[in-house]
């Protein structure tokens, strides 16, 4: 989307092509269910002037109700993978990444889709979370501001992962404006009605925003409160790499609440407390996500930051 400054607004092209990804992780059921529903009947996601395509990104993983078959699809969109030769000999998800990049990309080209919503669930008590990959994506910032206002007093928080090392190559990163939608807590393989409905409502408002923007509405400058990813904290492990402690009961389910130096963080299997010894207060999230045990992550720390979005309108 090319942009230019006109009268202090960022002028952006209309968002004409939008995709909704479900099943990037085959056992995160809200997205799988919603996308399957919309593939059958897309009336709910249609908006004037927008082509919205629902799409199951990892059908084999969905069929087996597993996170992935060979490798995590949501880490697979690296430049190396996207240009790797080898066709059928490549891991399944790398093949899928290349296919998705063909249909919805190419990544970083002018032909890429304007917006991709990637639907996820987490076992963590994160509530509704929107995941942002760049603090300078004013379109996305305005969209997230719109969504937060629309669902108030219910809450929807914004997680910013712009960390040079911890940032990863997501399915949605193929688009010009990637939006992650993470709703929890929900066990893998389970469909909870309230979680499903919450995700559905957020998408409704997101698509409304796009329609309004395309119709010419101007969105004035605004501030969006976000949580910026700082670092990943692993479980305490023994010399063989086995986990020797669990998330402490005081921290379990306390996503987005302040964790202060000295607060309990882990509890060993024989009941001892291990405390947080960082230099300042942080806001943990992704606390006790099932899929992150193998990625050496018990939770991530974040800090609160007010992101400023400039005014936007369509060209």
């Amino acid at each position: 989307m090319s942009s230019s400054s006109c009268n202090n607004s960022a002028c952006l092209n209309e968002a004409r092509r939008v995709a909704i990804f479900g099943g990037t992780h085959g056992n995160e059921m809200s997205g799988v269910t919603l996308v399957n529903l919309w593939v059958k009947n897309s009336a709910e996601i249609q908006r004037k002037g927008v082509e919205t395509k629902p799409f199951i990104t990892n059908p084999k993983a969905v069929e087996k109700c597993t996170r992935y078959v060979d490798t995590d699809l949501n880490r697979a969109f690296t430049p190396e993978n996207l240009s790797a030769p080898g066709g059928d000999n490549l891991p399944y998800e790398v093949q899928r990444a290349q296919e998705i990049n063909r249909i919805f990309g190419p990544k970083e080209s002018p032909d890429a889709y304007d917006v991709i919503f990637d639907l996820h669930n987490t076992t963590s008590n994160m509530g509704c979370t929107l995941i942002l990959e760049s603090s300078k994506d004013h379109f996305n910032l305005q969209m997230m501001h719109y969504i937060k206002k629309a669902i108030a007093p219910a809450s929807c928080l914004v997680l910013l992962n712009e960390h040079p090392l911890l940032k990863y190559s997501t399915s949605r990163s193929v688009a010009k404006h990637p939006v992650g939608l993470e709703v929890g807590p929900q066990p893998q393989g389970v469909l909870r009605s309230n979680i499903f409905e919450a995700m559905r409502v957020i998408l409704k408002h997101a698509l409304d925003f796009i329609e309004l923007f395309n119709e010419g509405m101007e969105f004035p400058p605004c501030t969006v409160e976000a949580f910026r990813v700082l670092e990943r904290i692993d479980y305490p492990r023994d010399a063989n790499g086995n986990i020797i402690a669990m998330v402490h009961p005081n921290l379990q389910d306390c996503d987005w609440e302040p964790l202060n130096p000295g607060d309990p963080m882990f509890q060993t299997f024989d009941g001892k407390t291990i405390r947080y010894h960082g230099s300042g207060t942080v806001y943990p999230t992704f606390i006790n996500e099932a899929a992150y045990y193998e990625k050496q992550q018990a939770f991530v720390t974040t800090r609160r930051e007010a992101l400023v979005a400039s005014a936007i309108r369509k060209i």
Partner: protein
């Protein structure tokens, strides 16, 4: 912090549950044959097995048995007054390694007499081979060599608290252990579930021992260990082993009453005729309300287009295993049970004389 169901918790987790009480008088209508102070004498329990990882992604049991195995190594030298042989078993190591429920087939359905005996093909499912190894170590099922008690550790995504699941509603050992845990752990919601399945048809690991039950604790997502759930399991197992030692030492346990939930039927999700995909989710009014009485015409499912589907049974029943992840593929959205109060007699361990007489009687029965 530390509320039982975490972010799922509801105000009324204990609805439908009455703790077991222990009056010394039995209600006359319950069991007129039983005299008030009759004590049932039962054989000693010298060997107990604690099994974890029967489903490889039910992590409380996996971590607990690993920890107990570590601790065991440290206290090997220490001599017990009343040696109780406790076998710690990790039932399905390959599934544990992959953090999956099973590799080829559900291990906890492999323990029928039919599956344990007879020829195995060369490419038999991993779990069939494993079930025979476990039967050799802990059984053989139905044989006097079998361990005296099997406690098989499980987790569920359903909001069930701590449940004993057993095939019998008159195994006094299991019922007394349950009552002991209820009294020792009053803050933990606890129920006794009875699957009315004959010995011939019993299929789970706990059926290999002379006595056995599954200890099922939820809610916990598969692949996750929640500290409150782990701690409840650890404490529960400890109390169970304590009870066995106390029982073996000759203590009399007074009789009383236990509420037992007997499984009556399962209900599947509504499904699309062609694809068999589910077309509705558990209704928000039922989600997390395990053991809260479900009445005919109560909301049960909510379709994806927002329609409410109602429970069409003709009697109120107690739901459990509501929205258990592993049961989607088994065609179970929830199970339903009737509750009734079971009277349990006072029990104590048999004297050596009684034990010998018992064994002789058993031997002569076998000869006949």
């Amino acid at each position: 912090m530390g509320s039982w169901g975490g972010a799922y918790s509801l105000a009324d987790l204990t609805a439908g549950f009455k703790g077991g009480t222990a009056p010394l008088q039995f209600p006359a209508s319950q069991n007129s044959e039983m005299e008030v102070d009759e004590v049932v004498c039962l054989p000693r329990l010298p060997r107990v097995a604690v099994c974890g990882g029967t489903h490889g992604n039910e992590l409380s049991g996996v971590y607990l048995v690993r920890e107990l195995l570590k601790a065991e190594k440290k206290v090997m030298e220490k001599e017990e007054e009343e040696p109780l042989s406790v076998l710690m078993v990790l039932s399905n190591p390959r599934a544990m390694q992959q953090c999956r429920r099973y590799v080829d087939t559900d291990l906890n359905r492999c323990f029928t007499h039919a599956k344990l005996n007879g020829p195995i093909p060369d490419n038999a499912p991993y779990e069939i081979i494993r079930s025979r190894e476990l039967n050799a170590t802990l059984g053989p099922k139905g044989n006097p060599e079998a361990v005296d008690l099997v406690c098989d550790l499980h987790n569920t995504t359903a909001n069930m608290g701590l449940c004993f699941i057993a095939y019998s509603d008159c195994d006094w050992i299991c019922l007394h252990i349950f009552r002991h845990l209820q009294r020792q752990m009053p803050d933990v919601p606890m129920r006794y579930i009875h699957f009315d399945v004959s010995n011939k048809e019993s299929y789970s690991l706990d059926s290999v021992g002379k006595h056995g039950f599954a200890m099922e604790i939820g809610p916990q997502p598969h692949g996750v260990v929640r500290s409150n759930i782990y701690t409840a399991m650890k404490v529960g197992v400890q109390h169970m082993l304590d009870w066995v030692r106390i029982f073996n030492s000759g203590t009399i346990f007074e009789g009383g009453c236990v509420d037992v939930f007997t499984m009556i039927k399962h209900i599947d999700y509504p499904r699309d005729n062609e694809t068999r995909n589910i077309t509705a989710a558990i209704h928000p009014k039922v989600q997390d309300r395990d053991f809260c009485l479900l009445h005919p015409e109560d909301p049960l499912f909510q379709t994806f287009s927002g329609e409410t589907l109602r429970y069409k049974g003709n009697e109120p029943l107690y739901p459990f295993f509501i929205n258990e992840c592993a049961y989607y593929e088994k065609g179970i959205a929830l199970s339903l049970a009737r509750k009734r109060r079971v009277t349990i007699p006072a029990i104590r361990v048999q004297t050596e004389q009684q034990q010998r007489a018992n064994e002789q009687e058993f031997a002569s029965e076998e000869e006949e």
